[in-house]
Symmetry: C2
Subunit: 262 residues, 2 copies
């Protein structure tokens, strides 16, 4: 496992340093097929780019997308774009906030990192049944370095057939559904299975994002990004996981979610 | 202080329950000037709304706005809207992500909660020097129940003249600038000064949001919202505050921020 981790990190650093041959032409167009990975531990190379594609869909949860975005976007060599069936405004699960998708599915054919956020029940299930989106996910996944999800985004990866037999996590209340897409629920703030990384609910994407930042550019950049977003959490309660929440509190949380959903 | 806290909470619960007289007509239009606060501890009343206005401006930081939004939007009685000089797409500090402002400044004349996110240096300083935005902030602040900020958003509140002589916090690297707007830097994940609540950098808005959710609707709803966003943080490093970061790491964080800024 540690060996695999090192291999992946080496691969990523090579990608960042300028592409590992014709297969990974960089978004900047200035691909230099360097044979050796970048030597520097602290900052990834300037010559290449790691393209992060964040899938947006009607009913996604804003923080699922924005958490990892915020800690990945400033990693040297990383560029982020938002992608949806159609470019333009995409509504979140509450209907009260919209993000802009910069690109349509057709216009994005490669990404080194794919991020699929979770959403409310309506948005998640509709996306799990949307062949255009699932085809696109499978296509992008073929050549990603990391394919990632937050919250119920793992169910969407699962619906695309990417999690069969693999350990994964998801939103706490959706854990039973992982089996339906062939995945094996595994506890963890995020779970790695080869190049697939699934994070737990909503805010867990921040922890996963920092982990990926460190993999991309070294621990020192990961530490710096944690400072950059002043991520020194001090929640007022200790009820952030169902293990610390009574059944009554769990029901209340689910009712608040359902009541606010569109 | 505890007494003031109780008073404020009572006020908020009264607002949620349907307005405290002509001064606080609810957004839903169905203002019933109840004399007594709502009795229920767990869920705020259905009759009124607490309107949260999130200011967006070119160069704001996405997570500053989305963190508190995500934990406030599902609190019973709360409605959230995004506001900018002009309605429509508003770019974040990296230029790679945009959120949609649903409303223009002119179209929003009241809000029970004002939230001012921070931004990159360009966005923050431009907003601190924008009379239209500062006038709007002052106008809204006059009748808010809470006026809040995340990160360098406190410097914008300060530029509007709202922090003179008050304890406040801000982004770790911007602490020295609080004095320039007459505020007194005070350590804390968030700092309350009467009805003004300022949060530390970026991710601190999540902690502040949960605190406000509990104030709005009681601790049980606060706990439920922490579970709803599965906020059980487990960062890979411990460098989320400058107190835990070497000067070298602080310089690296600031360099990454500067390099990614537009």
């Amino acid at each position: 496992m540690a060996e695999t981790d090192r291999d992946r990190r080496r691969l990523l650093r090579t990608v960042v340093a300028g592409g590992i041959g014709a297969g990974l032409v960089t978004a900047g167009g200035a691909s230099s097929a360097r044979a050796e990975p970048a030597a520097r531990e602290d900052v990834a190379g300037e010559e290449g780019e790691v393209r992060v594609a964040v899938l947006l869909y009607d009913g996604f949860t804003a923080l699922d997308a924005v958490g990892p975005y915020e800690v990945l976007c400033r990693v040297p060599g990383v560029t982020v774009t938002t992608v949806a069936e159609r470019a333009g405004r995409v509504r979140t699960d509450t209907g009260e906030l919209s993000l802009v998708a910069e690109r349509s599915l057709e216009s994005v054919t490669r990404a080194e990192i794919l991020l699929v956020p979770g959403g409310g029940q309506r948005g998640t299930t509709a996306t799990m049944a949307n062949p255009a989106v699932l085809d696109w996910i499978r296509h992008i996944h073929r050549r990603t370095v990391w394919t990632t999800s937050v919250c119920t985004g793992s169910l969407i990866l699962g619906a695309a057939g990417l999690l069969r037999g693999l350990p994964a996590t998801t939103y706490w209340a959706s854990r039973p559904y992982l089996a339906e897409v062939g995945a094996v629920y595994t506890p963890g703030r995020f779970v790695e299975a080869g190049k697939i990384v699934t994070a737990a609910g909503v805010s867990a994407g921040i922890d996963m994002g920092l982990h990926l930042a460190a993999r991309l550019a070294g621990d020192q950049v990961g530490r710096a990004m944690q400072l950059a977003v002043e991520y020194d959490p001090d929640p007022p309660f200790d009820t952030g996981s169902p293990e610390n929440a009574s059944p009554e509190l769990q029901r209340l949380a689910l009712r608040l979610l359902a009541d606010a959903a569109t």
